[in-house]
């Protein structure tokens, strides 16, 4: 029966054998290019790759909170920063292994996010944006200003583990972390928690009526996003080998939100590309200009580095007006093709519409169980319905059961 149902779903398009080979080849090429990139690149470029991977981790964390859960977070520097400082402190001052400090940094990020999440339970929209903004600023001026913890203005040392001391090795380490969180995000979307959170984003009251604990899953999204951000912070600190409060200002947090939105909220591939682009763009501009500035009339000296937020704003405008799904939306045909679909959906759509029309066009037909329509007698004995093979609903998915209500909760 499952096989028949499978056949029903994929009626229109099946790639040929060579089509599958082409798809596999493209996927292999992408994977190989990413794996081989640090090997082929020189030291400077390896630094870039590492930085891009750190941004990808941060982008994935924004994606959980803002993309999946739909909660705007302008205080993301609080989660990333706490992870960075915690990790630096543990490794440099307490002599704890980086590989223990990394998850601990994640936990501190998760804790910060939990605190913010508790606020987000009560307010939404613009007010939530303002509160997250204030939360980030407050963290900056309180926790990140504790000299003993963050080293004050001079910053704190964040040595790399000896095995990953080189830029190339560290880039691989960061890419591995990206891979792990990609898997987590994939499983998240495909499992109970992800569906619950999408449902909450859609409508909290409906979600509750579907049996979803809205409070718990909202907090879960914050905690998961905070954990990923904390780990990203740890990588950020050790990538730079030192970390200072100045790295976690509001403008940085805004770039993180921007890169995720431009990448495409909810789209893994889009977020990765958007994050990598913003990371590398900052570095490239910085390297090219070496602090040079334009002398513009009226505005005076404009540091080239400020181009990055400027470009971010432009891309954001383009995204919001032209393609709200971000880069992820542009990638959709590619993704569909890789998953075994056709490149263009134009013909496909028509086929889909026909499929829709078939059972639904005679309007009442949809509003009627097929066996009722066919006059199949309704099983009379309520509790032994599955005994005789009723052809369509052998065992109704909605169980027949009793007693009810006692001891369930």
């Amino acid at each position: 029966m499952a096989a028949a149902a499978e056949a029903l779903q994929r009626v229109e398009f099946r790639p040929s054998r060579s089509g599958w080979i082409a798809r596999a080849a493209v996927m292999a090429a992408i994977a190989l290019a990413i794996i081989a990139a640090p090997l082929l690149a020189d030291d400077v470029r390896d630094q870039w790759i590492g930085y891009a991977a750190v941004y990808m981790v941060i982008g994935l964390s924004v994606n959980v909170i803002t993309g999946h859960a739909g909660q705007i977070s302008l205080g993301h520097q609080a989660f990333v920063g706490i992870g960075a400082f915690t990790s630096a402190y543990l490794v440099a001052r307490s002599g704890i292994s980086f590989f223990i400090a990394l998850p601990v940094a994640g936990l501190t990020g998760a804790f910060m996010a939990l605190v913010l999440g508790l606020v987000a339970l009560r307010i939404r929209g613009l007010y939530l944006a303002l509160v997250t903004l204030a939360f980030g600023q407050m963290t900056e001026t309180t926790i990140f200003s504790i000299r003993g913890f963050t080293g004050g203005g001079a910053g704190a040392d964040a040595p790399r583990p000896s095995l990953f001391a080189g830029h190339q090795a560290f880039a691989y380490l960061c890419l591995m972390v990206v891979a792990v969180f990609l898997l987590v995000d994939w499983r998240f979307v495909k499992s109970k928690a992800g569906r619950a959170i999408v449902s909450i984003r859609n409508d909290e009251r409906v979600a509750a009526s579907l049996g979803i604990n809205v409070t718990a899953y909202k907090l879960f999204a914050f905690v998961l996003g905070g954990f990923i951000a904390g780990v990203g912070g740890s990588l950020f600190a050790h990538w730079n080998r030192s970390v200072a409060t100045g790295s976690f200002g509001l403008s940085t947090a805004l770039v993180w939100v921007l890169m995720t939105v431009v990448g495409g909220l909810g789209s893994r591939a889009g977020v990765l590309i958007g994050s990598a682009f913003f990371a590398v763009f900052q570095l490239v501009v910085g390297a090219l200009a070496k602090g040079a500035s334009f002398h513009w009339p009226i505005v005076g000296d404009v540091l080239v580095q400020t181009l990055s937020p400027l470009l971010g704003a432009l891309l954001l405008l383009l995204t919001l007006t032209l393609f709200p799904g971000g880069i992820g939306q542009q990638l959709l045909p590619v993704r569909r093709w890789l998953a075994g679909g056709p490149v263009s959906t134009r013909g496909h759509h028509r086929a889909g519409a026909a499929a829709t029309a078939a059972p639904g066009s005679e309007p009442g037909a949809t509003a009627k169980p097929p066996h009722a329509a066919a006059g199949v007698p309704v099983p009379a004995a309520r509790d032994e319905a599955p005994a005789e093979p009723a052809p369509t609903a052998g065992e109704p998915a909605v169980r027949v059961r009793r007693p009810r209500g006692g001891g369930r909760t």
Partner: protein, 259 residues
Amino acid sequence: MPPVLEVRDVSIRFGGLQALEGVDLDVGEWEIVGLIGPNGAGKTTFYNCITGIYPPDRGSVRYRGRDVSALPTHRRTALGMGRTWQNLGVVRTLSVLENVKTAQHAHISYGALSGLAGSPASLTEERRVRRNAEEILEFLGLLPLRGEIVGGLPYGTQKLCDLAMALATDPDILLLDEPSSGMAPEEAHRLGETLRFLRDSLDLTILMIEHHVPLVVGLCDYVYVLNFGRLLAKGEPQEIQRHPDVVSAYLGEVDDAAS
């Protein structure tokens, strides 16, 4: 045996508006009970009070003899109180199948973290969830559309998807909010057959908000009429149809000569 649903003295006020005032309602085992009333009478508010979305100022809700007044909405759903939404509870950007999977949330056995890690138990459970969703869709004749994005489907089909979701919560009592809205009269008539079929084959008890009078008269065992937040009348459908207060509530005051 206590009634499936026993609502007593439910009252709620929004600012200066007394939306519900002392409403009592009972739904017995396997009954199909109608809840009618003019627009703005408080019917959907009443549902929101029963399901725990609004905490009523006063009154209690008992489900199979158990007081559920203090339980949050999701716990009531897990106990077996399923509902549909007047404006549809579907996620329009997801496929039909994904929506029905989402609705099974309360009956998925693995934990959130186990799902993130992709544990073998969670993967096995996911296969069961998928099969279950497909069975429900097949039951409602939606299986061929399972891969379609809900937002692109005709309204009637979306309503059916909403119903499929309510069924996926594994309800014992189904609270329907205007199931026939947006349907042509003959479709509404067929909806009656569908609901009776669901009741009989899935062993359900049904409470329905409904405007379509022939459907209510033909289908319901008992009818409650709500007007301005108060219970105006209750009784068998035929009685209600002739009830002078109900007639005047729907059609405006009838002068003495006419009555």
